[in-house]
Symmetry: D2
Subunit: 394 residues, 4 copies
């Protein structure tokens, strides 16, 4: 029985946050060993980075196409690849590895258009390849409890949802001389037709969907721009209509001074409410109607088995962002290992953001863009098209 | 020089919260003495209540018309009346006292229709009477600092606003046998064509306006109903467009389990942000771009004179809802006393919710109702009509 | 049946915090009307203050002895007097009114010596007079729930207690030119032989005792001085030994920058814990062993009747320091009214700090002072003497 | 220039929390690779664990003596060993590796007696070996800022310190059938003569010392026992006297229901205060006298270079306990690498708990035990002996 996987990485040269999040996430439970990579265009730094992280020099590649080809031919080739490149390249890199039958775990947003996302779905199916997308926040241990409570009816039918995600990086960047993330994320060349909705709004979409099980029928979006002539939105306000008839609301901003990464999720049901904040990620606020509010803490015995299973350390010892990442890697690797070992029955047994979640995220972004372009009207997700996207690029 | 006023009260029999809030608010700084009243229809309880609060028996009246007439004829008649009756009667009670030249302080929402509100404005002007409306939350001491900071440019041009106000009273009421507030507030007969927007949303409107100085141009509202066939909304989500070109968002709900009275205000500017929560009313969170977040505390020496002036007790000793009420009464009474003493120059020198704020609140509610009825479209406040209101009553 | 009392006040000219706390506390439920007073030595201001608060001019007195004498002779004389003068005068003022058969409510610390306190007890008993002492913090509504939970065994046998009370007023005062509270509270002439222990430590003593029902057997105190040559301590650390065999700890400081009035109480039992902070006075943190932490909120239906009875306004609307004061006045007045009406059976039915709590507080202070003077050794409260006090005055 | 180290581990079979904390801590920045180990007495699990974590089978050892000998003879032998065995074995394991010239990083408490600790110091010096001790809490990034602020005079001379550390694991354990940590930590055979002081109190000692730079002169301890006949204390209250003349106080408990791992540090200076809580480890509360409280956040640009250097991810993305561990490993490895590369000038340039901190921790524990045994008297750390320790073992 296989207990370990090999993986490669495209992008994630040491300068960036996100490469390390993936590397550390994968290393946390040691279910996958970084074995190949193409980290950056600069060959010297590419080798230096790869070597530092333990990749043998002959498996450090100068381009991802070569990597996909060579690795797919090795007997000990990589099982999956982590894609941590800028948004506009996700599609072509993922396509290449999937066509070589290599599983993919990819940063969000999955692609820049619905068309691209749907095409990757077809290719993945053809090659029996799995795809994970790293929407991180839903994978803190107490949110597993949140999902469990909702699934088992603890708060009854859901009647309202509010999700907020303020950050201030754009304001900081505009007030600074340093080169930053802002330089590419606000540029349509790299980010397509959305900044805030694709960068952070999509996290809220997935959080709501994965926690409540509700499907989003339609959105009505109202975007904000700063500076006023910016090509892409930095504020995204979205009214939401779900398939159970209830509505909700989300808001994300990158010009909210004093907020680093405040993700707030508030779910209101007939029988109670559940709230969570990334500012206090270890705790869950559960409010049964008419009773004292309960504060649940990660890895306590009163939590469900599934939630406790992904805590690594005694209650009260904070696990953070890397560990949330590790929980995605853990489940993704568990899926691939079970598949290898022939013990995988249903991909839904593995709680990580699947290919469909990636596609739905893109659809969410495009529907919001379309709603904004058409004057803040309701747009059904199933009817969303890349039209708006195309307009943005003309 | 007069140092004290006499006032009367219509409504506010001892059973209710709100009568005591007004009585205690007025008593706090002792600038007005309760001298007449018509507290409840039950004569025995009317006398009992009035007597207990020190009203001479001959100035306890069985109806407000008689009270207005008799008091306006006395030399020592009341200077103003507090109206704390159910929403649908505000208009006629206020009209009656204004026509007798008696100043009015009235619960919100001011009236059920724009027409009524505008008519009261005309009558008040004719009789040189002042009108205050008790939107409470903006009158906590640190919000006076908030307003000052914004006025003096501390956070620069405002680029986004988010205001939230969850409560759970309706859920509690639906799960309880006890008679409650819910019984009339959800009934169009007493509340007109809006529940949540008029009961709590309007507080958010006034908070935003009074703190930022921004005028609201237009709204796009999305209402929620619970139970689904309820005649009036219990959730009110509102996209907002301000006269400086920026947008904002508000949400209020009475089916948000675990929330008693959580008013959260978040104001984002180019140079910083200010946030406040009614769950911690003594503190203001000020976040200048790129600097540590500052927590300011009521009555500290570093606050502006105007803010410190309305704190009554040493920093750290909590002042609560009654004291916020008292701050409205303090300013209203200061205005009337200065008027009496001939030292009033500009009514804007007195920071309390004025007649125009009452009217604008009604206009806000009607614009939201109209937006909802017309399918969640933008409605300009200046174009809002009572149309929607009328439809609701047919 | 009498429903209302008349009271007088000694001290509390308008400049001071504490006079208004008493006046507003008494006015809140309107069970006692301010009817006489001797507010300050300056006759003009005395009359001005008294008149403003509604006292008839002929019942404004230039000294407390005259007031006690005249009021005790009137048929409509005051039922009780509020003593809000500096600490060193509590004894003689209280003595004078008690000897005239007038009930007393007095600021803490009750007296400067155990001897004085015990003498007042004898005099009160002789005249069948009641005495209340205004230790405020225990009288927030959720602390009534705390007491109830402990009395009914919710957290089992108590095994540990921690109480903290940092303030920064002394640091502020030392860094300021303004005249302040500090000027007399740090001076032995007015404060006797203790500053921090008597001013704030004694609040912790009473909080612990009134919540847990535990009696304090012995203390071991370690004082801190700032500036180093200050005559009285500004930091008081106290190890405590209770009559059930368990120990506890308290700490208070007036040189803790950033703390206005942070009173933190933490009570640990075999079956759970209860914590409360004055920074969030509406909520109680209840932690049953092995279960989620519960946050209880004032005036919610799940609280005991006794706790709900002293909340005045719907849950979530903050009541503050004045309302806590009002709860003491409410119970004290209820006691006196029942006594007048012949329906008082047991003085323990009225939850306010009684005479014995005042005496015990003084005993606590003297035992701490003695422990410090003798080199941080355990001193039994029953053996505490005024010896240390006497030493301090030589 | 060497960029990487090899290390081995004694103890830390997969069942335990602490082995993984060390492994993940070391892996986080990848400066040391786990290359040898003796994880558990059960040979099969020993191999399974070792293999899973990538240790070649021939470097998995059945006992630590063999490991020390064999590894010290290999050219590619381990540079250091991590000791994560029960407390009573730290001494002999550390001794063995130090005698073979292998550096040591060891769990706290370093040893059970002062004698043992001092002997290890001599041995380490003889072999030019470095020793680190994993007191974790001081190594969160914002505490590096705290230390920097204090060193640069931001809060002036320190006048008071309060440190609290409640947990509830013992209560949980006593109410549970599951085997737990409690089984050995409360047993003198494994823990020597102290439970709470050695297990958690010592963390507070180190936190205070490392943050303030103050040396502890003397302690006065008061222990609590639960159940009452427990051989070792589960509550440790300690009055502290520092070398600058100021005093402080600490408290730790393992019977404080509702607390997983609440470490609260409060440092008060003449010019301001700094507070930190492990419940919110990313933020530092800085309160300059008379100014708004500042909330500083990890990895923000306004922090000092030294603090930012040990944050791995953008501000607001929580780093947790493993990352704090990683910071100790980072500095320890940096020290050893510089030593290897001949660029180490002063061991104080590397901020991790050094050998002397380990010794001082043991001295702190023994002084507290002695104070308790002698009836809660002051005991100077320099005079502390193992006497009390010896008594405990008879």
């Amino acid at each position: 029985m296989e207990r370990k996987l090999r993986f490669g990485m495209v992008g994630g040269g040491n300068g960036g946050n996100i490469g390390n999040s993936h590397r550390r996430g994968a290393a946390m439970d040691n279910m996958a060993v970084l074995s190949a990579g193409c980290f950056t265009r600069n060959w010297e730094r590419n080798v230096e980075d790869g070597t530092f992280w333990g990749v043998p020099e002959d498996r450090i590649y100068s381009n991802y196409q070569e990597m996909a080809e060579k690795e797919s031919q090795r007997e000990d080739g990589i099982d999956f690849v982590s894609i941590v490149t800028p948004n506009h390249t996700h599609y072509s890199v993922a396509k290449c590895f999937l066509e070589h039958g290599i599983h993919v775990i990819c940063e969000k947003p999955f692609t820049l258009s619905i068309e691209q996302a749907e095409e990757l779905k077809r290719i993945a199916a053809e090659h029996d390849a799995e795809v994970g997308v790293t929407y991180t926040y839903a994978h803190y241990p107490v949110l597993r409890e949140c999902r469990h409570l909702i699934q088992t009816g603890a708060i009854g039918k859901i009647i309202d949802v509010v999700a907020l995600y303020p950050q201030d990086w754009l304001l900081l960047s505009l007030n600074s001389d340093k080169e930053s993330y802002a330089d590419w994320i606000v540029d349509p060349t790299f980010s397509g037709n959305s900044n805030a909705t694709a960068a952070t709004g999509v996290h809220l979409y997935y959080l709501i969907h994965s926690m409540t099980g509700l499907n989003l029928d339609a959105v009505l979006a109202d975007f904000g721009y700063y500076p006023e002539n910016a090509p892409l939105e930095c504020i995204s306000r979205v009214l939401m209509r779900f398939d159970n008839g209830s509505h909700g609301m989300s808001w994300t901003s990158s010009v909210a001074s004093g907020h680093d990464c405040t993700v707030d999720l508030k779910i209101y049901g007939e029988k109670g409410a559940i709230e969570w904040s990334h500012n206090d990620p270890l705790h869950l606020r559960v409010a049964p109607v008419g009773q004292p509010v309960q504060i649940m803490c990660a890895n306590r015995d009163y939590l469900c088995e599934e939630s406790r299973a992904i805590s690594r350390i005694a209650a009260g010892h904070p696990e953070g962002f890397y560990e949330a990442f590790a929980n995605i890697y853990h489940e993704f690797c568990r899926h691939l290992l079970d598949k290898k070992n022939g013990t995988c029955h249903d991909s839904r047994d593995y709680f990580y953001p699947h290919l469909q979640d990636g596609i739905d995220g893109v659809r969410y972004v495009q529907a919001c863009v379309e709603s904004q372009k058409r004057g803040n009207v309701w747009v059904c997700l199933k009817d969303a098209s890349d039209e708006a996207s195309r307009i943005a690029h003309t």
